[in-house]
């Protein structure tokens, strides 16, 4: 008796077919739209540190690295929405982090901007007061100025009776020698973009530039290279639009819609002004992945990062430079020290059911603005803000990020987290 005859051959082939079918039927099939940013390892060594000591479920809305005292030792400044305060985090020489309250009792701060408003040589603090972390159309927003004093800060309300304020940027917009402000009133169903004219004696006159809900950031730069500061704004609520307000001089601005998409669900989450391609003009970088309007967020195929290349004459060419689910913020720095600009992205709403999905990535620039996504971390999650700066004095840009723990899953909790750049990975 031949044990393995034609019958066995047929059985084997049928077995192969059946197993292939079963494997197909039972495999973990990801949805076609899945976009989680799981990528290759980073060629730069980045060591992670928890910077803040906040307990509970921190809601950090903004982080930045800044040398407040001019002492050459940058600190991390974070807006703590849950604690209604601005905190300062200093990395001591032994590597430990010291946390202190810089400004207390400020209602859900969304953004802090340090600038010498008074012209007295120190940095005052402008706070964009959201007033409510939840969707709200109430007039709970404010523009608050905290004037730097020898013993701390003194508070002054520059604008109230407005909806939720998400961002304030400062520049001499009307060329009269003092500091004016651009303000993003995010609101909810209604909102606006304003500029506040410094009229002297601590008074600011508000001027409406645009009426639309969902203004997040208003980066100021000389986008058209004519020597005066212009204002850009990203609108993200019902409409997904990128606007510029060209400074015509004398306190007048011409609105220009630079870009829009019919995809109302894109989820624009911020706007960064930087010369990404180092060609001498200011480009715009747009992280996309906000889907807080859903009960439960899920990464969408169009989440990631867009680079708007400044081509001159108010023309900005759109480039999609990363796909990364739930992208909420971007920062630009030369992480690998090769002379070109890389981009760091963080995610608020990736698919957190998979512990291997990234919460932090960086986009390695090959020098021709082609980017490779490199994974940095999978925890903490729910990150909404990121900045770069030299935290430990080694002249390498480090990464700092903040978590907004609003949504499930309540795990891999973080407050303010840093990734120190240790140079090339071994």
């Amino acid at each position: 008796m031949r044990l393995f005859g034609p019958l066995t051959t047929a059985t084997t082939l049928v077995g192969v077919a059946v197993l292939c079918l079963m494997a197909w039927a039972l495999q973990d099939r990801s949805p076609e739209g899945r976009n989680v940013g799981r990528t290759e390892a980073s060629p730069v060594a980045l060591s992670q540190e928890a910077c803040s000591t906040s307990s509970g479920l921190p809601q950090i809305t903004h982080v930045q690295v800044i040398d407040l005292d001019g002492a050459g030792r940058p600190a991390v400044i974070a807006c703590d929405a849950r604690g209604n305060r601005i905190i300062r985090l200093d990395r001591e020489t032994d590597g430990a982090w010291a946390e202190s309250v810089l400004i207390d009792d400020v209602g859900v701060p969304a953004h802090a901007t340090f600038v010498d408003v008074e012209g007295d040589g120190d940095l005052d603090c402008l706070v964009a007061v959201l007033g409510d972390i939840s969707p709200s159309d109430e007039a709970v927003g404010r523009v608050e100025l905290f004037r730097r004093r020898a013993d701390g800060y003194s508070r002054e309300v520059l604008l109230e009776d407005v909806r939720r304020v998400a961002d304030i940027q400062a520049a001499d917009l009307d060329a009269d020698g003092d500091t004016d402000l651009a303000v993003a009133v995010f609101g909810y169903s209604r909102g606006e973009i304003l500029w506040l004219e410094n009229t002297g004696d601590g008074q600011f006159a508000d001027h409406r530039l645009h009426s639309a809900a969902g203004g997040i950031h208003v980066p100021i730069a000389d986008y058209d290279g004519d020597g005066d500061p212009d204002i850009a704004a990203i609108i993200s609520q019902d409409d997904e639009e990128l606007w510029a307000f060209e400074n015509l001089g004398g306190g007048t601005f011409e609105p220009r819609m630079l870009w829009r998409t019919p995809n109302f669900d894109l989820g624009s989450a911020g706007l960064v002004a930087a010369d990404l391609d180092q060609d001498g003009d200011t480009d715009l970088i747009l992280p996309t992945g906000d889907n807080l309007e859903d009960f439960a967020a899920y990464p969408q195929p169009y989440h990631g990062c867009l680079w708007f290349e400044n081509r001159g004459d108010w023309t900005f060419r759109e480039h999609r430079i990363a796909e990364f689910g739930g992208t909420y913020a971007a920062a630009v720095a030369d992480l690998d020290g090769d002379g070109d600009n890389d981009v760091v992205l963080i995610s608020m709403a990736n698919d957190w059911s998979d512990p291997d999905n990234a919460s932090v990535v960086w986009l390695e620039n090959d020098g021709r603005q082609t980017f490779v996504t490199r994974q940095v971390a999978t925890a903490p999650i729910h990150l909404v803000t990121v900045a770069t700066g030299d935290l430990n004095g080694d002249n390498r840009p480090d990464i700092i990020a903040g978590s907004l723990n609003l949504r499930s899953p309540f795990e891999r909790i973080g407050g303010v987290t840093g990734w120190l750049n240790r140079g090339p990975a071994p």
Partner: protein, 459 residues
Amino acid sequence: MKRLLPLLFVVVVGGGLLAVPGRLTRLLTTPVVIPAPLRTDPLLAAELETLARAAAAGGHPEWMAYGDALLGQGAYLAAEAAYRRAATLAPEDIEARFALALCIDRTGRMKESNEHYQACLELPEVAGNRPSKKPFARYAIGRNLLRLEDEVGAEAAFRQNPGFPPAEYQLARILLFSDRPREAEAIVRRGLASLPLALEWHRLHARILDALGRPDEAAAAREMEERSAHLLEVNFNVDYIGPLTEKVGLNRLFAAYEATRSTADPAARDRLLTAIEAAIGDRLIPERFRAARLRAELALATGDPQAALAAVATAAELGSSDPNLLDIKADALDKSGNPDQATRLRERLVRIRPTAKCYRQLADARAAAGDPTGRNRLLARAELLDGIATYRRNDPAGAAGHFEEATRLDPDNAVAWYRLGEMQFHLGRKAEAAAALRQALTISPGSGRPQRLLDLLPD
């Protein structure tokens, strides 16, 4: 080759038997894998497990119930599997097909989702009073095409949905952005005729009027946007999923607790709250803060300010300075004989999140301290907040009364004068409006809003 067949047989079958059974066994024995994000709710796992077993043993209604529970928790992929099973068991059920389409929609598979929404259009309506799913399915098809940046396809889809306000709104937007503002305006005017206080219609109207070069009318439309509270169901999935969130888990208990508020039976509320607190334990989840706030509220309502303070302290230890909690704490301090501490806390509170109630309490404190001017200034702020809320309810006459009172109490409050002028403007009292707006500008020369409104008034 034939000699290799036995080896191939052993490798394929043996390897397959080793590799596949784990997943196969799980599939056959465990109808449900609770998604990781849901495990932070201590009640959810058991409740979902029960629903899953009922579904495995039952039929279409059980799979629907299980899908609803999962969708309400945002577990789109798990819900998709449940609804798919329900749709297989009852291929004519439009509800199952629609829910399946929505799960696929929210996980970024627009084309596949549209196939299921399209299938909904072929299915019979559900008997009874439930609103038809078909306009929503047609609308969702258009939305998904917008997400795919296919404006031409989306326009065609929205045109298939006449009389459905969200679809007409999206159609008007497409028309505006494709240089057809007049056609867009006709749609908006129809929309406003049926829903005169729909915010989105006024917002879009303003943009269309801008595009048509009619800035005065655009400004008027923007003012109407301010006082329009009705929202179109542009993002219908929130309304669809919202009621499902309270079907299982801690949210089910919180919903039950909220339902007891009207009965005013403190003992029943205490029992429910105790059950919630026991379920939460020391888990670090937002529901713990919510329970602490409810405990503080209940303690205050039942005359136990010390228990209220203890509940607030529990939340504060975990880093929360939620204004609602601080407000309860201030009231508890008052009731426990610490009015000065309460006042200091309220002074912080109005910096963080001002409320009319808090301003009035601070005004009482100023009056008690013999400071009538300070009292009036604070009362004026309370009137301002009340007036703004009244205006948002489209009651400019009622709001004007509050603002008038605010200016009487604090004649130096520029915002009160501006708001009074704004109301007079809307009420057609041009002279009174101009006088109030000028007063606002006299007090605060830099204020842009009164100037913008004055510019709309005849000299």
